[in-house]
């Protein structure tokens, strides 16, 4: 079968690219290895309950009106309505460090007030930082690498404030350990603090179903349980895709949302990559408790808490299974409103080491998961008295789970540290979209799919 465009992966970015192309009558097919769509943002059912993977929050939340905001732009490009995503804003979130709590919601004033109260000496400097960030063009203009730690230290004097600002931004999108590029920091800072957090009423499946519905309505073809086993090459072009089951497919253009290194592994002749470029390592474990009551009825009303038990924040792959000294707690029930499957959840996410998890056998793997669930109860006790007594059900996913369902090397949730912003590969008709092209998060992935489809399949060359 021949298509104008074949897209590897029914991910957020793959589906968004597919919609753009099908909308303008391109013959397009999305192939997905698994029975579930979504890729790094998906959901699963267990014990009659539904759980999200990936999504704690949709960042970049803005009300209607600002037509150039990423959220509104992508809805327009995909011809979806705000009702399709059904986003419910957060109430309040926190960055909790020893003796300090920075609070923020979807108005920037709350954040400014909180910073000024906690760090009066840096109040004015923080306001300057905010206007620098607002004026910074992180989208259209290219900037050389700049250390965020240094950029913040140049503008602020309170070291703990710097750590507290880095903490949520790194957790929600940093593929690098220790430090990050300032341009990427600005993108994520705007997404989290200047725009805001929200959750689709029914969790990630609300968005995925809207994308699949729209894609199919435009005439796009979606093949599930259909993995790409090989990318065949002639000269400097993809000549065919070999699919699981041995069939082949051809296309004028191939867009891959499988990840850069993951895509290269499929190529019959990969690109000769310089030594310095490596797949990402940052991965997470998440333990999820279903409680017998809503967290807010038990006294915990923060939507997301980024906690760190020291004054310095060390974002790196731990030397053990997980590092529970810092993490993210998300209670979907603490968004403005929420469906039944989300309302009683208490989710804890920690940095994790793929290497440690991958070395286990099935018995020790289960034991390691149980030990994370014990950590979850300890952590829960800090927020909800007698937390353990309220737990009805618990489940854990690990870097190995992520690798199994997404094919991502090391279960690296944010992909490779070095992004390929132009989406190009060593082959003339093979392009990347999604996490390894540029932006992360749900809105970032969707924008990535849209812009790669626009640039390489719709615009005149």
């Amino acid at each position: 079968m021949h298509y104008d465009v074949v897209i590897i992966g029914a991910s957020m970015s793959g589906l968004a690219a597919g919609i753009r192309l099908a909308q303008f009558d391109k013959r397009v097919c999305v192939v997905e290895r698994h029975y579930a769509y979504g890729g790094l943002n998906s959901y699963y059912k267990l014990d009659g309950r539904e759980f999200d993977v990936g999504l704690h929050a949709v960042t970049n939340y803005v009300p209607p009106g600002d037509r150039l905001a990423p959220l509104n732009k992508l809805l327009r490009q995909l011809r979806l309505s705000r009702e399709d995503f059904d986003l419910r804003p957060q109430r309040v979130s926190e960055v909790r460090f020893p003796d300090r709590r920075l609070r923020f919601n979807n108005t920037v004033d709350e954040l400014v007030d909180s910073v000024v109260t906690l760090f009066p000496r840096d109040g004015e400097r923080f306001r300057h930082l905010l206007s620098d960030i607002q004026a910074y063009d992180d989208i259209r203009q290219e900037h050389p690498y700049q250390s965020t730690r240094k950029a913040l230290a140049d503008r602020l004097t309170e070291p703990v404030l710097i750590e507290m600002l880095l903490c949520p931004v790194m957790y929600y999108g940093c593929a690098n350990e220790g430090d990050m590029d300032f341009t990427q920091f600005v993108t994520m800072f705007k997404a989290i603090f200047l725009q805001g957090l929200a959750r689709p009423w029914g969790g990630v499946r609300t968005i995925l179903k809207a994308l699949v519905r729209r894609y199919r309505a435009c005439g796009g073809k979606l093949q599930m349980n259909c993995g790409v086993e090989g990318i065949e090459i002639e000269d400097d072009r993809v000549s065919a895709l070999t699919l699981s089951g041995g069939t082949t497919m051809t296309a004028d253009v191939v867009l891959s949302s499988a990840g850069y290194f993951e895509t290269m592994r499929l190529c019959s002749r990969p690109s000769s990559e310089p030594e310095s470029e490596k797949p990402g390592r940052v991965s997470f474990v998440e333990s999820i408790a279903v409680l017998d009551e809503r967290p807010s009825d038990l006294g915990h009303d923060a939507t997301v808490v980024f906690y760190n038990d020291a004054d310095t924040f060390d974002y790196r792959v731990p030397e053990g299974f997980i590092d529970a000294r810092s993490g993210v707690v998300c209670c979907p029930g603490n968004y403005e409103t929420c469906d039944k499957s989300g309302s009683h959840l208490f989710r804890a996410t920690w940095l994790a080491s793929y290497r440690h998890w991958a070395a286990l056998n099935s018995d020790t793997y289960t034991a390691a998961k149980r030990s994370c669930e014990e950590q979850l109860v300890c952590l829960g006790d800090r927020y909800i008295p007698d937390f353990g007594d309220h737990v009805e059900f618990v489940d854990t996913f690990t870097p190995c789970t992520i690798e199994r369902f997404t094919g991502r090397i090391n279960g690296a949730v944010y992909g490779a540290p070095k992004k390929k912003l132009d989406g190009k590969t060593h082959l003339k008709n093979l392009y990347l979209c999604g996490t390894d092209q540029g932006f992360v998060g749900i809105i970032g992935s969707i924008i990535s799919g849209i812009s790669m489809a626009n640039q390489y399949c719709l615009r005149d060359p």
Partner: protein
Amino acid sequence: MLEKQVKNIILDIIATVAPDAELSGLKGDVRLRDQLDMDSMDFLDIVMELRKRYKVEVPKEDYQQLATLDSCVSYLSPHLQAALASA
């Protein structure tokens, strides 16, 4: 007559690609980009809709002809006239 028809075609396309745009009171001689907060992605959609609906191709070097509603009408009228006649 044709001018009005072409103008309606363009407005209809803008309403499709940018349903959140306020089209009443649109000025003919002011850049659409400035009046409607449109960006290059929106203009791409206008071009794609013209191709899809009327088989009218707007080459990249002519994109600037679509800057205002008036310039759209004068640039597109000859192209659309042929398309409408053959329809």
